[in-house]
Symmetry: C2
């Protein structure tokens, strides 16, 4: 039987409040308890809003002592229920610690507090002539602490990596309220175990990230955007290989879009101008960021000529202005919104070995067809092997009628992913929604090692219980 947690509200909160400066604890508002797609509702009555690592340490040491569950809350943009916990936990938000502490342009380093909003970090980098490489749809509200805790991905992973790859150092408060001062600005450091990467991606279950030293990159001198038709996902991968041979690391984004994506945009009235006529079954959206002396438009034209000759593309548009580039990106970025409007039966954030993607898609469609005449909208970060492979009811039907097959759909998709050596969570994490799947598909030794690490770093199990690993 699981051990009980002490409620955060009541005696515990009252005692804690007397030792914190005023205003650090308050009754929680509904928005901290609502999963953004309404799939989970949290509970709990107390919200903690610390303003320093020391305050976080005090809060955690008390929670540890009393065995109060602590659910860390970032920008509320997570997609796997990681920030929504049951019971009467203390909701811990670092939103008052939202500063960019310093920018070191000659070092290409920026130090931010965990509550800093991604868009603000990006802007602080740009103000110093640099670039912070993390970019995703929710960048206006996602916070650095949550982005690191979930090892967020997004649109430029191909070039700059996930959140993990963009972090040099961390300040972390442990489950029992100690502060690890690991906020180094070092590009190399081989002094002991890699605790940084252990905390990154642990979804608040091993410690609370309070600040981070982040990598910046030089800003590309010139950028270019193109949308090219491709006959198949295989052809798209071949095209990526040829593009990289031309411009090396200059490929910032390489997004796969299917005909279904466009159809959904038109169906929901969200489509802008039609970029290609006819719209092909598959397209890739390419973003280049090149150096001085390189011509992105010329590189894209040469690529298209080569692709056309090789039968890899028969239509395309190369943006001739920033507005055209924005329009092409808007097409890609509006797809998730159209998906929500239509209503997916099930969404899958999967990764595959690159060469297994075409096979996965073929077999996946067959598996769906065997269940019902379902529609699939596959799109995403092809260069990373990461597809958002979302399943919808037939046109005109409501997803409500398909509630009964949701589990079957996801099971079929994830079974296939596992069989092909893929991942059931490429960039969203495990949270609370995928705990069962993790138990089903993960290597048992990995699960046992994870449990050992959890028990070692959070022996009383107070940190985000039920996320990543089952609470016990």
């Amino acid at each position: 039987m699981p051990q009980e947690y002490t409620p955060a509200s009541g005696d515990f909160a009252e005692a804690l409040a007397t030792d914190l400066p005023e205003g650090r604890l308050r009754p929680v508002e509904a928005r901290y308890l609502e999963e953004r797609r309404g799939r989970l509702t949290g509970s709990g009555g107390t919200l903690a809003l610390p303003r320093s690592a020391e305050e976080v340490a005090l809060i955690l040491s008390r929670a540890h002592e009393a065995r109060v569950a602590v659910v860390p809350y970032g920008g509320g943009t997570g997609l796997v229920g990681g920030g929504i916990g049951p019971g009467d936990p203390l909701i811990l938000s670092l939103e008052k610690m939202d500063g960019v502490r310093s920018v070191y342009p000659t070092e290409n380093v920026l130090v931010a507090e965990a509550g800093a909003i991604l868009a603000d970090v990006q802007a602080a980098a740009v103000a110093e002539g640099r670039l912070f490489g993390l970019s995703l749809a929710s960048e206006g509200s996602a916070r650095i602490g949550g982005l690191l805790a979930t090892n967020a991905g997004g649109l430029n992973v191909l070039r700059y990596g996930t959140a993990r790859a963009q972090c040099l150092g961390l300040e972390v408060v442990t489950a029992d309220g100690r502060i690890w001062h690991g906020l180094t600005r070092l590009w190399k450091d081989n002094t002991g175990y890699d605790l940084r990467d252990l905390f990154i991606g642990s979804e608040g279950t091993l410690g609370i990230i309070t600040a981070a030293a982040l990598k910046l990159a030089p800003r590309p001198a010139a950028s270019g955007t193109a949308l090219l038709s491709v006959p198949s996902p295989e052809a798209a991968l071949e095209l990526l290989g040829r593009l990289r041979a031309r411009v090396g690391e200059g490929v910032s984004g390489f997004e796969l879009i299917s005909r279904a994506g466009w159809d959904f945009l038109t169906e929901t009235g969200m489509a802008g101008q039609q970029p290609l006529d006819p719209m092909p079954d598959w397209m890739v959206l390419i973003e280049l960021g090149l150096s001085e002396g390189q011509e992105p438009a010329a590189a894209l034209e040469a690529l298209f000529a080569e692709a056309a000759e090789a039968g890899l593309s028969d239509d395309g548009v190369i943006a001739q202005s920033a507005a055209q580039a924005d329009a092409l990106w808007s097409l890609r970025e509006t797809i998730p919104e159209a998906n929500r409007a239509i209503g997916a039966i099930a969404s899958h954030d999967i990764a595959l070995p690159l060469s297994a993607i075409p096979e996965f898609h073929r077999q996946g469609l067959e598996a769906m067809e065997a269940i019902a005449p379902l529609r699939v909208n596959a799109f995403g970060h092809l260069g990373d092997g990461n597809l958002h492979w979302n399943v919808f009811p037939p046109k005109g039907e409501d997803r409500g009628a398909y509630d009964g097959v949701r589990a079957q759909v996801t099971r079929a998709v994830h079974d296939l992913v596992a069989a092909l050596g893929g991942s059931i969570s490429a960039e969203h994490g495990i949270g609370r929604f995928k705990v069962d799947d993790l138990e089903r598909y993960a290597d048992p030794v990995k699960l046992a090692l994870m449990r050992s690490v959890k028990d070692a770093l959070d022996p009383r199990g107070i940190l985000n219980p039920g996320a990543v690993l089952r609470a016990r």
Copy 2:
């Protein structure tokens, strides 16, 4: 009082041998017990040469059961005594598991066994038109398992990262003999804790890496090499910023060389042709690897023109042939050899925040002068903030006479590194030589967390005892 280990030789080895195929255990030869610079001599009588992960698992399960210490041995090229243990441990070498299992060129992935030699991995990548980005002086004997266990760095970290950044998946045998099948070829995977990066850099103290899935990169279409004078390390950093503005990620190497490096080469008769006249106090060796349509020589000429105008360089040579490029690189790569011939009092593998490097070097020289009229040869991977800052006796004197100040020298250097927010081990690791220093300089919370992780994953302390963390 530390708990005793069971000797590997004798009863334990005899029992183990009967359960392993023939030839897996044999008396150890001297070379497995000798630290390459003679600073440490190991002991032990039994060498294990398994040929599969399953055999490694059997060996470890028995060692765990009996509490036999296991010292993993890679290519014997480590610099911190990580592969040399006291007592009668089982020496575990994966040299018989040295195959490149598969190359996936369209995925830019290569899977190798832990005993594979780096040069062989590089060659396997080249054979498929790809590049494996790890490159270092000992690549002819260093093995993948050891390179990952120590998170090795080397010459191309600026572009491709350390060993950690070039690994996608691992197969690992745990201390108690379970196999974690984590050999994925996925570029994104957010399913649970980052065990991969926990094992990488743990120097064989948390588990035994038996195979790895490694990232490959496209081969640059054209390369260029130049040696430019700079007035100071500050100027070198400024030059790097300007170079990156020109060619972005196209900078593969950016090595700082001091006048002392050249003097040591001439003093030891190892110098080739003098590249600049007069030889300046500071130089940078630049390696570019650019894409199709880019001209490395032109980029380097433009950089030099800009640098000359800005007072950042007043002399330089741009290689006009592969032979000239080799000669410039040979200058850089022969410096460690010249250092060994002259005989350092103390060597330091340090990293600093980039902007602290000039200040460190100034204060470091002052600190050395206060001890004795010592000579300093500072060189290394400037772009990573990683200097090899080695201290030598005055010209004509033998280091033997300075044994008495070695500890004082290293203490002064490391104190300064710590004060400036740096690392006392940038790329070599902790091994056995730097355990005291780690205890002195590391954040105490970090040390405590490391100990918790060690106890969780290796509860009987059999894996490489005394490396990274003190044996107990």
